[in-house]
């Protein structure tokens, strides 16, 4: 951002944000929908979460406006991701106009033509990075992938295993996620899910856990049926197997955190197999929702050891306690470590691993997203 007065931008933004981020975002979207009513259809009826995301993105961009090296990769990911909403190059000027109108409105008498110019220039850089990235991938991949639900298997009242078929192969790597929109049930609501099988085919297995009060997870677990349509976004996330590594693996999964691990085990099997320890944790026996598969895999692959830990069920004869505590009792020098589960489980597990000597940079993790 060469000749932009980034200090002035930051000050102005701080002053505007003092009015309350939610109010600022509310004005922004109201202006945008008033002036460009056709954009309203790109968003769901409730805008609470969307406003939070907008504020988060703006804060992040303004904070890093001087650190171009950090900002640009973020903007490029964002731009590529926005294609799934149907965002096209023509939308960017409209958004810029709404943004400037919002800033001017909340700045009141402090709004100057210099601020107008600086903000316009800054927005130009942002939208350029975003739409440029979107255009670059446009040749290689679609904006989204259409899919149909083939089968819904409710393993417990709040965990379901979905079989989904895409029209074209999705380019995710084992361990990565993508955002999912239940087009039939909850249009325009997107949430991140991780496929539980290795890539290459058109069939994808998703493990969905019902989050209380969450519209998408509730719909997918309780209301979804074969024939419902989905849209899938581009691949997301960095928890993947390291290329050409044959270090032994330690996989620690809590509940539906098992999905990426299952995909990675399938990938490892395809690549010839390597020493793998899988620790699966659940609160009660009923929550070992994929028990048959866990036992099958353990029998089939001699290089795989499966340990199931249950934390709160007196009927369990096996290891009892939190899966992180039980896993940390082992010796994991030289292992590649992967952890996936709820935010609380991931935090606790990583803490235990580090305090038992596992180097932090060898641990990759993914947490459950929002509801």
């Amino acid at each position: 951002m060469a000749d932009i007065d980034t200090a002035a931008l930051k000050d102005n933004f701080a002053a505007v944000a003092a009015h309350g981020g939610d109010g600022v975002a509310l004005y922004f979207y109201s202006y945008l929908f008033l002036k460009y009513p056709e954009t309203r259809d790109m968003f769901p009826p409730s805008m609470t979460r969307q406003r939070d995301r907008l504020v988060g993105a703006l804060v992040r961009i303004v904070t890093n406006v001087d650190k171009v090296g950090e900002l640009v990769p973020y903007l490029e990911d964002l731009g590529r991701d926005h294609r799934k909403f149907g965002a096209v190059a023509a939308h960017y000027p409209a958004v810029g106009e709404a943004l400037l109108a919002t800033l001017a409105h909340f700045s009141g008498d402090d709004w100057t033509s210099e601020l107008q110019e600086n903000w316009t220039a800054a927005y130009g850089v942002v939208s350029g990075a975003m739409s440029g990235a979107a255009e670059r991938v446009a040749q290689d991949e679609p904006a989204w992938w259409d899919a149909d639900i083939i089968n819904v298997d409710r393993r417990t009242f709040d965990i379901a295993v979905l079989k989904v078929r895409t029209n074209t192969v999705h380019p995710y790597a084992a361990g990565q996620s993508f955002s999912v929109e239940p087009s039939t049930l909850r249009p325009r609501e997107w949430r991140l899910y991780t496929p539980a099988n290795a890539p290459g085919g058109r069939e994808i297995e998703l493990h969905v856990r019902l989050i209380d009060g969450g519209p998408v997870s509730t719909a997918l677990v309780r209301s979804a049926a074969a024939g419902d349509k989905l849209r899938l976004g581009p691949p997301f996330g960095r928890m993947m197997l390291t290329q050409d590594s044959d270090s032994p693996l330690l996989l620690i999964a809590g509940s539906t955190g098992w999905a990426p691990m299952k995909a990675m085990i399938e990938q490892v099997a395809r690549d010839g197999g390597r020493r793998t320890h899988l620790y699966f944790g659940a609160r009660s026996i009923r929550e070992i929702y994929d028990r048959k598969v866990l036992e099958e895999l353990s029998d089939r692959y001699p290089w795989l050891t499966v340990v199931i830990a249950v934390s709160d069920d007196i009927r369990w004869d096996g290891p009892r306690g939190m899966v992180g505590d039980i896993a940390a009792e082992g010796e994991w020098a030289g292992h590649d470590v992967f952890v996936c589960g709820s935010p609380a489980m991931v935090e606790a597990t990583i803490k235990r691993l580090i305090s038992s000597g596992v180097p932090e940079q060898r641990i990759k993790f993914e947490e459950f997203g929002e509801a």
């Binding site: 509310l26 004005y27 979207y29 109201s30 202006y31 929908f33 008033l34 009826p45 409730s46 805008m47 609470t48 009242f157 709040d158 019902l210 209380d212 009060g213 969450g214 519209p215 509730t218 009660s284 009923r286 069920d313 007196i314 009927r315």
Partner: protein
Amino acid sequence: MTDSAASLPDLDTVTGADLQKVTFASSKAFGHGYEQHAVDAFIDRCSAVVDHLRNRLSQQEAEIAGLRERVERDSKSNEVQHAISVLSQAQQTADKTVAQADEYSTRVMAEARDLYEDARRNAATLEQETEDKARGVYDDALARAATLEREAQDRVSQLTLTAATAQTELDSQTAYLRTLRDATRTQLEVFLEGLLDHVAGEYGRAHPMAAEAANQATPHRGRDSNLQVSPNGASSEATAIPQQPQADQSNDRSSVAGDA
């Protein structure tokens, strides 16, 4: 060059320059024309006035247009603000409604989940207790069976003991009876022989030849003839009748009677 007032452009657009361009034909009649200079000066003055008025008119018109535009813009900006405000309120209402629905759903799920977890824990406890109890009952039954077996064995061995004792008793009774039989037989034999001797003797005294024949028929009489047969028929040298064994007789009786 326009050549008289009749050809001036109309009032709305006439300017000072237009007036300056007007020419007048020279008057033909001597003494009825105007002084050229006076007319020129007058035209100058008029054109200045026209220009001045024209300028002021433009200014006023611009000002009015500006005011009108401002009024219009203000009212439109107010409209825009009003519309934005209405839209924002509508959005907030929608957000609140959805949030309430989500909260309700969360509460219901949380309650259902608590109930389910309670039920599960209770079921697990019950299962555990039942299993423990069942195992307890089984262990109990096993212990009791062992006790019964032991008691039965004890009884068997007791009975065996009793039977053995009875057998011993029986054996000694039998032995006694045999001995008694033998003794009685012997006694009888002795008595009979004594009687026969007596009869033979008495008969012999009566018929000595019959006595000799009888003597020959019974060779063992030699021994018995030593015996003195008493008149009541009992031998004084009779062997004592063995006593019935007394040992444990009452005990055996009672233990036999006691086994019911």
